[in-house]
């Protein structure tokens, strides 16, 4: 039997259909960054511990470093590049800036994706709920408080503008 080590993978990424030639060893993270040129998603640990590579896959936030590109065939992927509306930042992005919820910024795209997933499920998370649902994202700069504040502040703004 011949060993096929490459394949074409077609996925919807932030609403655009993209096909890439993927080695079997390629992760979704590498597919996004190296093949599709979407470098907003960051590589941290590559072992699913840090969450810097968090993206949405079929409506669920996952560590893209632990998803094989082959599994993204036919999937709907949303990355940090899809969060803003054109030049208008998403409330989460604005609140991260206002609260200085980042320093080096490597964890920020993952936090934004996970926080957006959280607020879509729970528009008014408590402090404990926010920490629980963001537990898969590590930040070594801020000590987390500014991130929690930014997420809850964004949630409050989104709730009042939804009224």
């Amino acid at each position: 039997m011949s060993m096929d080590t490459k394949r074409i993978v077609t996925a919807s990424i932030n609403g655009a259909e993209i096909s890439v030639m993927a080695d079997n060893r390629m992760s979704l993270l590498e597919m996004l960054r190296d093949a599709a040129g979407l470098t907003g998603t960051k590589e941290g640990c590559m072992t699913g511990d840090c969450g810097a590579c968090s993206v949405m896959m079929n409506g669920r936030v996952v560590d893209s470093c632990l998803v094989m590109a082959a599994e993204a065939e036919g999937a709907e992927i949303e990355t940090v590049e899809g969060i803003a509306d054109g030049k208008n930042l998403h409330p989460l992005q604005r609140k991260f800036l206002e609260h200085a919820a980042l320093q080096c910024g490597i964890c920020t795209p993952g936090f934004l994706v996970s926080a957006k997933a959280l607020l879509e499920k729970n528009p008014d998370p408590s402090d404990a709920e926010t920490r629980y649902w963001l537990a898969g994202n590590l930040c070594r700069c801020t000590g987390y408080q500014q991130i929690i504040d930014a997420v809850r502040d964004a949630a409050a703004e989104m709730r009042s503008s939804a009224k």
Binding site: M3, N24, S54, R60, M68, E71, A135, G136
Partner: protein, 329 residues
Amino acid sequence: MKPFAYHQPGEAAEAGRLLETHGGQARLIAGGSDLLGELKDGIVHYGQLISLSRVKGLDQIHQGASGLRLGAMVILARMEGDPLLSGPYRMLAEAARGVATPEIRNQGTLGGNLCQRPRCLHYRSPWVSCLKKGGSGCPAMESGHQHYLSVMGAGDCRAVNPSDLAPPLVALAGVAIIDGASGSRSLPLTDFFAGPDQIAGRDNALRPGELLVAVELPPMPENWRGTYLKARERTAGDFALISAAFGCRIEEGRIEQARLVLGGASAGPMRCPEAEALLEGQAPSAETAARAAEAAFADASPLPHNGFKLDLGRALVSRAISQITSSTG
């Protein structure tokens, strides 16, 4: 990572045939959160990965007359909140909630959680040889890093199964449904995992060409309740050092149908029949819970650097019993 072929069969039998054809060169991949770590770290290599993501029918939770059937590809995030995992089965949702991180729970599956490899630091290190990796010696016995090793048992490998779902599933008398190229069979989960005398090369009872396709749980009395408690180094994202699944029902003020299963204590999830017998028919009290906790660890033989797990374990068992017996009945 070395190159590999990547298969995505649509049927369990086809996955079984691929496993049989490729023997030791093949490995199943479900969510991938455990296996990819091993592959990236160079701990293992397989020339053929067989993905279960396209196999039909493995991602269902089904309630029937004979009990509850959980497909092997049900993701842990679904188990956290599925309405069928309530009442007696609520302890499974609790256990799922304590696994890793939200991201991993969106990828990780029930089957993968049960079949994941141990967390022993020596097994996980690409730089040291060990029995579990086919080497000739066990560096863990002489090491200070023994927190992910058993406190009971006499096998040549003291690594423990790190699954958080295994102890509650054993408490609920779960049965492994196994499929493969040569047909299907079922096996109580108590016989599925390696026992205290585990052989290093074998984590579970799956034979070559076989795969776990579901876990079936027999019906439980309506008023049976259980909980799963887990001790770990950090509140989130960590594996259990030691854990306890406990459940029972209270009839006229007395404990009935007590089930106590430890995780992280022996090679696989370990039922504690002596402790269960001590509880049976007793009125709930702190003293009864403490006696059961003592009994659960009576046969412990900890290693030089993991005796602390006994204190943690007894505390978890007492707490789990008190929690359930004070809220039930």
